[in-house]
């Protein structure tokens, strides 16, 4: 039961969950921005082993006598853990971090200090209003506006102002056309994206690129593969980040796929409505599909509804997947399911669809992706 991939005037729920123990900082009804820290968590800390005996130049047993802190006690950073006096000097061992002395081994002279956990900040990543809070665990943020789901993405999370770089959904942007106007933005380009465009985006510190498709060879060229070296599909799918310069992070989100040549009309309309608005993209690792969430002004969002489920029936607008008409938009004719034998020899349950050019085709129902409900 998939949601419709492109929706306007909807209420999108985003759950943000703490890792480990922690505290939430926002309450129900509070407004948040992508940078808002909604909570802090404490992931398990890494215990430190301190060689007390060696540092004091004593035997383990003598070092045990020199401990100034009992096992189980809390110590501050820099506090003395052990002290040994000699005729000429006083030797001390200090705690490298604040924490709890959890063990001392009498045979080796090693002590274990469990540092206080470092705090990890959890950010909202989207604009919206906190709708639900589970104390110590998670918050759910509601964003009213637009929603666009892609089929593939890499690069983590990003937010910025949505800017369309082309005038049509099939036009590919030339990298020479890109200037500072797109810095820190979520750049949307029709057609496909090239290696040169990606490199230019990185140079301009564009935060994310949304496109119909990208040829694997172009993506490989951008990532630094030598010419002629094939980028394995698996490597593309499991790509965690798309960055040449470690200081930069560029997110890529594809709406069609690696062989798509344009953005479909329904998606383009939604993206055009988001022009100039701040949006957030979440693109975790494949197979999780990336998604763009854009908060729109209250005046533009009236009676926002929860994300709608896709319904495959008469009148639905669909995208054909695979075959000679791949990525072509069509309309389901009557919604009746017929058992047919495909030219491939495979028997399938199919629906009749009509393309924009008026062609009637029988397409297996599993090859249809609903992009607009009847």
């Amino acid at each position: 039961m998939s949601t419709l991939p492109y929706q306007l005037n909807c209420a999108v729920l985003t759950e943000r969950r703490l890792h480990g123990r922690g505290q939430l900082r926002v309450g129900s009804g509070e407004r948040v921005e992508p940078r808002t820290i909604v909570g802090t968590g404490s992931p398990p800390a890494e215990p430190l082993i301190i060689n007390i005996a060696a540092d004091l130049q004593e035997t383990p047993a003598a070092a045990a006598q020199a401990l100034t802190v009992k096992v189980g006690e809390r110590v501050a950073r820099g506090a003395v853990l052990a002290r040994a006096k000699t005729a000429k000097s006083v030797r001390e061992v200090r705690a490298p971090e604040s924490g709890v002395l959890v063990a001392y081994d009498q045979t080796s002279g090693l002590a274990t200090l469990l540092p206080s956990s470092s705090q990890v900040e959890l950010r909202a990543t989207v604009s919206g209003t906190v709708r639900d809070v589970v104390p110590g665990q998670s918050v759910t943020i509601e964003t009213r506006g637009a929603y666009v789901a892609g089929v593939w993405g890499a690069g983590g999370d990003a937010y910025g102002v949505v800017r369309l770089a082309t005038r049509s959904r099939s036009e590919t942007v030339a990298f020479e056309q890109l200037d500072n106007h797109f810095t820190y933005s979520i750049l949307v380009t029709g057609g496909t994206v090239t290696a040169d465009t990606l490199a230019r985006c990185e140079e301009l510190e564009v935060r994310a690129v949304i496109a119909g498709g990208v040829a694997p060879a172009e993506l490989g060229r951008y990532l630094g593969f030598e010419a002629g070296v094939q980028v394995l599909p698996e490597a593309l799918l499991t790509l965690r980040s798309v960055r040449k310069d470690p200081g930069q992070a560029l997110l890529i989100m594809l709406l069609g796929g690696f062989d798509a040549t344009e953005i479909d009309e329904a998606a383009w309309q939604v993206l055009a409505a988001c022009e100039g608005r701040e949006g957030s993209i979440t693109s975790s690792n494949w197979p999780e599909p990336p998604r763009l969430v854009v908060q729109l002004p209250t005046s533009e969002v009236v009676n926002a509804v929860p994300l709608q489920q896709a319904v495959l029936g008469a009148g639905a607008t669909v995208l054909i997947l695979g075959g000679p008409n791949a990525q072509t938009a069509a309309t389901v004719v009557d919604g009746a399911v017929r058992r047919i034998s495909l030219p491939s020899g495979v028997a399938a349950e199919a629906m009749q669809v009509r393309t924009d050019s008026g062609k009637q085709l029988d397409i297996p129902v599993h090859n249809l992706r609903v992009i607009q409900n009847p």
């Binding site: 890494e46 063990a103 090693l110």
Partner: protein
């Protein structure tokens, strides 16, 4: 029928009135309905539907169950759960979930006693719910590059020896746990501590999601390691449920184990081998896993290649087998990037079906390589008497085409295997009956004897000798059909004429001749047996492609296809 898979939280319900086995695959959900017909337990119907997902990510098990149940009810003609006619059975009580949708786990196995680590690793590698194991002493696993960058295992198994973990090992252990868990999530730790030993690692593990097992890892099975395996199985169940969020909405099974689909198939394979042909080879080509299982009597060897298949795992399969190995199965020259784009497309849209002949041939090339890879990875096994195709081989293509695909792959992976009988498990009976056996072995055995997959009456031989040998001998036998020998000969000659002139066809009628004898006399024979008048020319066409694909270039194949008139000119142009 025996059972080897533990099932938690479910009382054996028998079969009354119905049991619905749902096998949730990453690509397709296969439902099989068992019930009593005339007082006798039977396999009533089977259907498969694409596994619905929530936002294209996690399998929506509730939706999958309802869709599959609706489809199977329509097919079987029985009123069902929530229907207007009233509930004939309670879906929640009838459901027996089989989980193959959750990928097997990735495990880090760490300890101090390297002997125990090696022993445990070697035995756990056989578990179908484990994808990969990174095993070693704590010190071994720590250096950079030992574990893949950004590696996130599903579970860490920590083995403490007879002595408590030395303090000097605690910091490395903490570093290891921090590395694999980082600050992103808590990694479950299965902490194995011998009886009577006070754990020294407990302090740092106190903050983790730790499950402690008291056991003697060096004890002989089933003691010692059995406890670890049981805990890992439970962990796998949690892992499955965690990934499959719809499961939380199935009130009858909030905590019950999903039975491993591979495990179910293996139960059936062993039973089938013991009660039937003797040696059986099961080839299950799934969307994101490839399972190859060889059963001979009570012996069972198997290999699960997870993350690889014809759906989500297609890109991984492509990476593993390589472009050239795929190209050799194609009777045309693929465009640059055609195969890699196909792999990407299938990974992004696993349920999409091939629309053109060209797409179907590419898909079948992937299937051939999946089988070849699986058999190559399997430990050496004796030639089987029966090969069973499952998954894509049973549902993605027709049984004849599946047989050809299997024969081709076998000829590459095991050229010494001369002749094998082939069947396809189109009813998903191996998994479904294996699941039934997990709760009621005797009942499953009864159903198996009546409703096991029948041989599709096609006998194909992996040809002996070199692939480039030009001669192709064809022996055929049929029963019950109306085809006369002369007609058969004529058709063969017609196809013969379309072949390369170096290729010869010899027809050897096998009517009344024992097949075993024919095999002995003609070890290089492709033998076709039809019991019910199957359309022979089509079969031969497939067979011809088997022979030609690997040894002729595209031109000669296209010429052959054209001459035979089997495909239209337009189709040929599309190739």
């Amino acid at each position: 029928m025996e059972t080897t898979t533990p099932v938690l939280g479910r009382n054996p319900p028998g079969i009354a009135p119905y049991t619905l086995v749902c096998d949730y695959g990453s690509g397709w959900t296969k439902a099989t309905l068992f019930g009593k017909v005339g007082g006798t337990p039977r396999l009533i119907a089977t259907r498969s539907v694409p596994t619905p997902t929530i936002d294209g990510l996690v399998p929506d098990l509730l939706a999958a169950t309802l869709q599959a149940e609706r489809a199977i009810r329509a097919m079987a003609g029985v009123p069902g759960f929530g229907s207007a006619e009233g509930d004939l059975y309670d879906l929640r009580a009838a459901l027996l979930p089989v989980g193959s949708c959750a990928p097997p786990m990735s495990v880090v196995l760490a300890g101090v006693d390297s002997k125990a680590v090696r022993r445990v690793a070697s035995q756990l590698q056989e578990a179908s719910y484990i994808r990969e194991i990174h095993a070693g002493s704590i010190a071994d696993l720590l250096p950079a590059g030992r574990l893949p960058s950004g590696y996130r295992p599903d579970v860490v198994v920590l083995l403490e020896g007879q002595e408590p973990l030395p303090l000097a090992q605690q910091q490395p252990l903490a570093q290891l746990l921090a590395r694999v868990g980082a600050d992103t999530r808590l990694v479950p730790v299965l902490h194995c501590v011998p009886e009577g030993v006070e754990s020294a690692a407990a302090v740092m593990l106190g903050r983790m999601d730790t499950d402690v097992v008291r056991c003697d890892l060096l004890a002989r099975p089933p003691h010692g390691l059995g406890a670890v395996q049981r805990k890992l199985h439970v962990q796998y169940s949690r892992h499955s449920l965690w990934r499959a969020s719809g499961a939380a909405q199935l009130p009858a099974h909030p905590t019950a184990s999903f039975i491993s689909a591979a495990g179910c198939a293996m139960i059936s394979a062993r039973y089938a081998a013991a009660s039937g042909p003797g040696r059986l080879l099961l080839l299950d080509i799934g969307a994101s896993s490839i399972t190859v299982c060889a059963a001979a009597g009570e012996d069972l060897t198997y290999k699960v290649l997870s993350g690889m298949g014809l759906g989500r795992g297609c890109a991984a399969l492509y990476a593993r087998v390589g472009e050239n190995n795929l190209r050799r199965w194609l009777p045309f020259e693929p465009r640059p990037d055609e195969l890699s784009l196909c792999a990407l497309r299938r990974s992004l849209h696993p349920a999409v079906q091939p629309l053109t002949l060209r797409e179907a041939l590419v898909e079948q090339a992937f299937a051939r390589e999946a089988i070849r890879l699986g058999i190559t990875e399997l430990a050496p096994v004796a030639p089987p008497d029966l090969v069973v195709g499952s998954g894509f081989l049973a549902r993605g293509i027709g049984s004849r085409a599946a047989s050809v695909v299997i024969a081709d792959a076998l000829s590459q992976a095991q050229p010494s295997w001369r002749q094998v009988e082939v069947t396809v498990d189109s009813a998903n009976a191996f998994v479904a009956l294996g699941a039934l056996a997990a709760i009621d072995p005797e009942l499953a055995g009864t159903v198996w004897d009546r409703d096991r997959p029948r041989t599709v009456t096609i006998l194909l031989a992996a040809r002996g000798g070199k692939r480039e040998a030009p001669a192709v001998d064809v022996a055929a036998s049929w029963q019950g059909g109306s085809m006369e020998t002369t007609v058969l000969e004529g058709r063969l000659q017609r196809i013969h004429g379309a072949w390369d002139k170096d290729t010869s066809v010899q027809l050897t009628p096998l009517r009344g001749v024992k097949m075993a004898e024919a095999r002995r006399k003609q070890p290089q024979t492709i033998a076709l047996v039809m019991s019910d008048g199957n359309p022979l020319p089509e079969l031969l066409l497939d067979t011809r492609l088997v022979s030609i694909r690997t040894e002729r270039r595209a031109e000669s194949v296209a010429r052959a296809l054209d001459s035979s008139g089997a495909y239209t000119a337009a189709e040929l142009q599309n190739l």
